[in-house]
């Protein structure tokens, strides 16, 4: 295409200027990528810390005995819903541990141990012992171990609210460390059978825990689950309802990030537009000559649109690379003085990087519209008469 070839020639002929414009766009894009990635990483790590070891959606019973019947059929229906990654039924209840120096209340949670690990991730945090293999074997948390100086093999004599006189002996087969003190002090994790033996739930469970691929769509999926199950004896809740303060904090953070990115974008557009406007003036003689030789107004405009496009692509590629470089540098140098770990773990969202690049290229083309129009309107006779 003639206009494309002229655009590349104009850019090549003025290499220093072209490089400076590309660097200018790249700096804008890199700030956008850096700020955006930083905020996203911060949000991801906050969300992970808050709900990483807990279900995104929980189904509870509304019946008096707080039990859910026919849970296997429900589980099957929930698995078929788009966006659901893990489903696990939970049979849990309060137990009193009677053989510790002080009467202690714990929450005995009975899971399908393999499936539940997809949500709670306890298996990888076991630092002593192993996963429960038999009925009445349980995992205990680090805080619980520390509080009562327990070890693998320690036995817990428990009773429940419903059967205070019954004594059941649980054996600790390992210790986990989820990093949340309240959980690590309270939960005893065992199999379904262990929970059933203790609470006599029969075929019922107390809740169904669900994890979804996009945590921010938990409310929408929860609504879908509610309508799919259409059961009046259950209540579907999600983490967004239970963490509304965190959510509003995250939203505020996102908004401020968008504001920064919008201002960067505006400055990039203004920068390119003004530089290309100067280029049109610089090249007005050439445009006039080309028009005298038969280049039409549309082609004359396209030359500057292509210049904008090429500068935008160059700036976007360099800017995304620079932004990521900044982020990696930030990770390398901004570390916790005690743990030596990065303050914020890097979370790269490829769609965001692509979007930043596309926005920069679009912005460059939009910025080139004004100079392109100017080039289109340039009068040959003015150029010829003014030499």
């Amino acid at each position: 295409m003639f206009s494309f070839r002229v655009a590349t020639r104009f850019l090549k002929a003025n290499k220093t200027q072209t490089i400076f414009i590309i660097i200018g766009i790249a700096v804008g894009v890199s700030v956008q990528v850096f700020v955006g990635t930083l905020i996203q990483s911060l949000q991801t790590s906050l969300v992970n810390q808050t709900i990483g070891n807990s279900p995104d959606i929980t189904i509870l019973s509304t019946t008096d005995n707080a039990r859910i019947e026919n849970w296997e059929a429900m589980e099957q229906k929930i698995r078929n819903i788009d966006g659901v990654t893990n489903v696990t039924a939970v049979a849990d209840g309060q137990v009193f541990v009677n053989n510790l120096p002080q009467a202690t209340v714990c929450l005995l949670r009975g899971f399908n141990l393999t499936e539940a690990d997809g949500i709670f991730h306890y298996a990888s945090t076991i630092y002593q012992g192993r996963m429960p293999e038999k009925t009445n074997e349980v995992l205990a948390g680090k805080e619980f171990q520390t509080d009562w100086s327990l070890s693998v093999g320690s036995q817990l004599n428990i009773s429940t609210n419903s059967a205070p006189q019954t004594n059941i002996t649980l054996t600790i087969c390992g210790f986990y460390n989820l990093g949340v003190a309240a959980v690590d002090r309270l939960w005893l994790i065992g199999s379904f059978d262990t929970a059933n033996t203790t609470f006599n739930f029969g075929d019922n469970v107390t809740s169904i825990n669900i994890q979804v691929s996009d945590v921010f769509s938990a409310d929408a999926i929860a609504a879908q689950i509610n309508s799919t199950l259409a059961n009046t004896h259950i209540k579907v809740t999600n983490w967004k309802v239970e963490n509304s303060q965190l959510l509003s904090g995250l939203n505020g953070q996102s908004l401020s990030s968008y504001m920064i990115q919008a201002f960067v974008l505006v400055s990039v557009i203004l920068g390119i537009s003004s530089i290309l406007a100067i280029t049109v003036i610089q090249k007005s003689k050439q445009i006039g000559i080309l028009k005298a030789m038969g280049v039409n107004d549309g082609t004359a405009a396209l030359i500057f649109l292509f210049e904008g496009l090429l500068l935008g692509i160059g700036g976007a590629v360099l800017g995304v690379a620079l932004g990521l470089g900044l982020m990696i540098a930030f990770q390398t140098f901004a570390v916790d003085p005690v743990t030596k770990l990065p303050i914020i773990s890097l979370y790269i969202n490829y769609s965001f990087l692509l979007l930043s690049g596309v926005i920069a290229v679009t912005a460059a083309v939009v910025a080139a519209l004004v100079p392109a129009r100017r080039s289109s309107k340039l009068s040959v006779i003015e150029v010829i008469r003014n030499g």
């Binding site: 002929a13 005298a292 030789m293 038969g294 280049v295 039409n296 107004d297 006779i381």
Partner: protein, 231 residues
Amino acid sequence: MADRTPFLKLEHVDKIYGTTVQTQVLFDINLEFEEHSFNSVIGQSGSGKSTLLNIMGTLDQPTAGKVYVGGVQADQMKPKELARLRNETIGFIFQFHYLLPEYSALENVLLPAQIKSQTPTPEILARAEELMELVGISSVKNNNAIKMSGGQQQRTAIARALINNPKLVLADEPTGNLDSDSTELVYSLLKEINQKYGTTFIIVTHDRKVAERTDRITEIKDGRIILDVRT
């Protein structure tokens, strides 16, 4: 020899510049130029001769009157049609060479052909080589346009004006910036091209001696034709 078919025709052409303060530079111009002819328009600085040439070349529009190029009324054409007419039918040679500094001499010569048909064919390349040979710049064809002498630049501009084999070449003071030797060379060249390719030439100049070497002299003064003779 020129045939008698008018290739370029101006009927009652007026040109007025300005809106609040109006300056009329051309008054009721009626002219016809035959195909294959070699003509000159002379006049002093400010007489309106360059304006006349720009109107003939469709670079400027008349305020009143009609302009016919190759039998088509150019003043009624749309901008896109005018651009095509300029590209395919008319070649321009200006006082200042107006070469594009970003391109080599050969690339400058090829520009009108590229505007016409994007990628130059082997035939067009051969024609460019032939024209550059004709104007004597083959040895500097790959030089950047700004790294040539004034004479070489103007000869490159002549080759560029001829690349699309136009029927009409309009030259505005083509030797205005050249020394007397180069002036002589350029005029001999224009005459040779006229005879070799049958291209119609209209040359604007203020130099009567130069004009006397053409087949027809049209003199313009204060925007009016005061003399129109065949030499």
